[in-house]
Symmetry: C2
Subunit: 322 residues, 2 copies
């Protein structure tokens, strides 16, 4: 991506983990800001951020990082967003845009908004991107390329501020969508939160069986189980906070999931092959659509195991038996 005119002068990142450090790398590489301040909770992370050279200034307190910034992005677990807003409130420059990257939006709005002064523009955001790794070393500039970033501006939000944040995220490589926070939380409950919960759950179930040893589970994981271990290796603090702060939508979607699983359980118990087959045939089409819109690789097995002498291209007839 070519260098752009800076969208903001000074960017402050509250937290420099996977997401914060990826924003820093991409914003600098693509010329979206003139300089970058970052804060981190631990001395070790601050030292590492300084070594990596991804921020111009590294601070121990969030207020110092936020001071004088034109765009402040809170990149912490959602559980501390409210406390962070309180810490930075008095340091905020009039006209600054305050945002976040949390996977939950109603709770973030509710927790942060009361602490922020009227002179700043609060526009919550959620980049739907990540990996199972954490920390400043895990970030990379391409993380947001062709991923979606959902903005959930509160009613009456300043249109100019929303527009500039939109421009910033587009510059980072993302496709930007505006959404109502409650609807966001419902959409993400099914596309992200419940998938993470059931992945964590099955890995937990497998780890605590008597009949099957943990070493057998690990050894024979290529049968499907290992796919689940990837998202079940995601940051524990971040995900604990997601579930605690999107309770209603997650419980609603978990209810649907469990009802549907009961139907399949019953079909297995009574040997109803038709119910199983009909569902299994239908779900293939969903993956095909995700690949078609460029949100997933077309390579078999995520491209994990490439055929020898073969480039990373999809095979001609991926679902031959359809």
């Amino acid at each position: 991506m070519a260098e752009q005119t800076p969208v903001f002068n000074r960017l402050a990142l509250i937290g420099a983990g996977l997401i914060g450090s990826s924003i820093a790398r991409a914003a600098r590489e693509r010329g979206l800001v003139r300089n970058i301040a970052a804060s981190a909770r631990t001395e070790a992370t601050r030292k590492r951020v300084a070594e990596l050279g991804i921020a111009d200034d590294v601070f121990a307190t969030n207020a110092e990082a936020a001071k004088g910034a034109d765009l402040i992005i809170v990149c912490t677990p959602v559980g501390v967003c409210g406390a962070v807003a309180q810490e930075i409130a008095s340091a905020l420059k009039p006209g600054a845009v305050v945002s976040d990257v949390g996977s939950v939006k109603s709770a973030v709005l509710k927790d942060m908004a009361p602490h922020l002064p009227a002179k700043v523009h609060f526009v919550p955001a959620h980049p739907v991107a990540g990996t199972e790794h954490s920390g400043p070393d895990a970030g990379f500039a391409e993380l947001f390329d062709n991923r979606w970033c959902i903005l959930t501006p509160p009613p009456g939000a300043d249109a100019g501020a929303v527009e500039r944040l939109k421009k910033f995220w587009s510059g980072l490589g993302a496709n930007v969508e505006i959404m109502d926070p409650l609807h966001h939380d419902m959409v993400l409950a099914i596309t992200s939160h419940v998938p993470h919960l059931i992945a964590y759950n099955i890995v937990g179930t497998a780890a605590h069986l008597g009949e099957v040893t943990q070493s057998e589970v690990i050894k024979f994981s290529a049968g499907g189980f290992r796919d689940f271990t990837r998202i079940a290796a995601s940051d524990p603090t971040m995900w604990r906070d997601v579930f605690l702060h999107n309770k209603d939508a997650v419980l609603e979607m978990l209810g649907r999931f469990s009802e549907d699983l009961s139907v399949l359980t019953r079909a297995i118990r009574f040997g109803d092959g038709k119910t199983l087959f009909d569902l299994f045939a239908h779900t293939r089409a969903i993956r095909r659509s995700i690949i078609e819109i460029g949100q997933e690789t077309a390579e078999p097995d995520f491209g994990r195991q490439r055929k020898k002498n073969e480039p990373a291209v999809p095979i001609a007839r991926p679902y031959a038996s359809d």
Copy 2:
């Protein structure tokens, strides 16, 4: 892998889908057999197998393919294994080894054994390998490299026959393990069958919501959901048969999964962050072990989205926040 002395003279593959065609490719490439016969149910598949040149002879009936073969591998969905055994029984050469590749072993043993003549050696097998794709085009010679192949010889099986089959699978690149069929079915229920069922289930749940449209599910799938669509794109017939033929072990493991999910649901409902955090922190270690024994890629996000200018190597501190 270097060329080997052939382990069997003539190999017959009953079915030439993902697994059958991968065996054909690897066995030929690595010199494990002198010639290969294959049968396929449909004219289209037979034509394609002939075009691909992965078998020396392609037959419309299973008995013709099995005739004169020294190793016969049934590579069909497990639901038809019994019928296939019946079809090929009278064509089998004395001393031949009969095997299969089914993901379920007790049912295959029960369904096939009664039809097979005493003059042949029946040694069921299960290569724990695959992709979400089906058909002869989806196969590739490297599919079994560093994967496990589990043999479940019945009591009193001929040791020489087991040894030759073991040598054959080692030649295909697999690590071979001997297991009791009932134990196999329990291990695979948790490492493969239940993971597939819950993946199919969540994709089904997501596809049938009123509050969230299917296009939103597809668009924002990078939040975790898309991982599940890969195994939920697996062959519907094969998987229907797995669930119908491993009922007891699958229902047992599903029961454990559901109990554990109830505990997490309750923790979310009552805001018990400790229960969530403790599980989420524990599950990371399981993935690390799977990567360490070489059953999974160490690359973030399965290597789907590689950092620019960076080779396919793991980053130094994958779990920085531990």
